[in-house]
Subunit: 276 residues, 2 copies
């Protein structure tokens, strides 16, 4: 997930630690092909990435569209610094303007961009419709918006485990308490339609990991999904959602999906729509 917070939002549910920045990088690298396939903007296009966070997706966006004029924004100055460093290291030739600010109040004129891209951002907004409306303003008529989100309700695994399921549900509840929605993937179509976008096309992008795909088991099941759930342990305990014992049992049972004979399934949603 990227780091997008603003005046109406509680703090970013996943935190800003080094471990989290590492997790975001692992996640983005493992999923780059799955999430970014099909996104290639023509050279010279003015592209806005809203909520770029630590730049985990930015480098993949630039790899797929090397000639664009990218503007990347985030509300966290610290995340933006990390994004700048990451892009300097991995895409030194890219032309990127960095903007520190709130995506709801961007200082760009109407229609300033040909394309808008955002990944794991809407899930953190208390009012994603307002965010989409603000982004629509800076998009030119005929320009596209691309939105990628997960949906934790899509997570299921073998062996089935009620304890593991409850532990995942704690993260969903925590994110809701912070004003977000970890189940937002399924809502992209109605959100974009209601925001006045046209030609809304939403496609599921499914991750499925079993013993025949050891790199995905390691990179996604363990280092992306389980790591994400595990990272909110302190907040779950502080919120009184679970005892330490129950939380840890849930994590241990979730990890069985990464053992021989285990399987894990998760669906991301990628939406592309046009500003009429």
């Amino acid at each position: 997930m990227t780091t997008e917070t603003h005046t109406r939002a509680a703090p970013y549910v996943h935190g800003y630690s080094d471990a989290e920045a590492q997790r975001l990088g692992d996640q983005a690298d493992t999923l780059a092909e799955l999430l970014h396939a099909g996104t290639a903007y023509p050279a010279g296009s003015r592209v806005l990435e809203a909520g770029c966070g630590v730049g985990a997706q930015t480098v993949h966006l630039l790899a797929g569209s090397p000639g664009v004029l990218l503007t990347a924004t985030d509300l966290s100055a610290e995340s933006l610094d990390q994004a700048r460093a990451r892009v300097a290291a991995q895409a030194p030739a890219a032309r990127v303007s960095w903007h520190h600010g709130d995506l709801h109040r961007l200082p760009f004129p109407d229609g300033a961009f040909d394309h808008v891209f955002l990944c794991f951002v809407l899930e953190h907004l208390p009012d994603p419709a307002a965010g989409l409306a603000a982004l629509r303003r800076v998009l030119r008529p005929g320009g596209t918006i691309t939105v990628i989100e997960g949906d934790h309700g899509s997570a299921f695994f073998h062996p089935e485990s009620a304890a593991a399921r409850r532990t995942v549900d704690h993260l969903v509840r925590l994110q809701a308490a912070a004003g977000g929605d970890a189940l937002i993937g399924r809502r992209l179509y109605p959100l974009l339609t209601a925001a006045g976008f046209a030609e809304v096309a939403v496609r599921p992008r499914t991750v499925y990991a079993d013993g025949g795909r050891p790199a995905l088991v390691e990179g996604f099941t363990l280092r992306t999904f389980v790591a994400m759930v595990e990272a909110v342990r302190a907040e779950v305990l502080a919120a009184g959602l679970a005892t330490a014992e129950a939380f840890d049992r849930g994590i241990a049972e979730l990890r069985r999906a990464a053992e021989p004979g285990g399987t894990f399934h998760y669906t991301f949603f990628k939406a592309v729509a046009v500003k009429p």
Copy 2:
């Protein structure tokens, strides 16, 4: 789902009514491309379809592999008659041998087939590993087995609804009580691996329906999934799993996924493996 029952199984959970045969046809036609893509056997191959039921998948199998020598088996003579009629109408040139019997005790010699295909069958077997072992016997070394199954735990929808979710869970429980497993999709990899198959490759095949895909909303959300859940109403009430009022409220809320602004997600799993 196809109609496969045997001495150790309770009656087929979906029943044998005309409405059910119609539903199976609707389901198969809507999903033909999604489920059958990638399955094309060379002309002259000896192919076994185990548990062909009313032939809903058989006609699509034959469309993708028109020159095969197909043997189709089912435990229900009545279903087999319907399958024969369906194939005669839709694939009159196909060469099909019909066999009435139990897939666990097929009267064919070891290695009699080049390929085995089964769709929505394992979910109804009390011991799917035993079923796979029996099918492995009649497959020649180097031959492939293709298994397609759903997983009701993959169903999620917008608007979210606890009542709708409970109603889906009743079907899962009913199928478990009948000796089956409506969550079997996620188990295909470990089941095939444990049964001694090699090169086991499982791929998710995801159905996602929103307002931009009205044919899928009608053909899948309503006429396949909701119809399937609705069809077990009498059994759910007889088993005391829900009151009529609660069941009907769940169905009504599930139907909202097919209304404007609603979305629906379901994942099938398709596995291909080789007999060493």
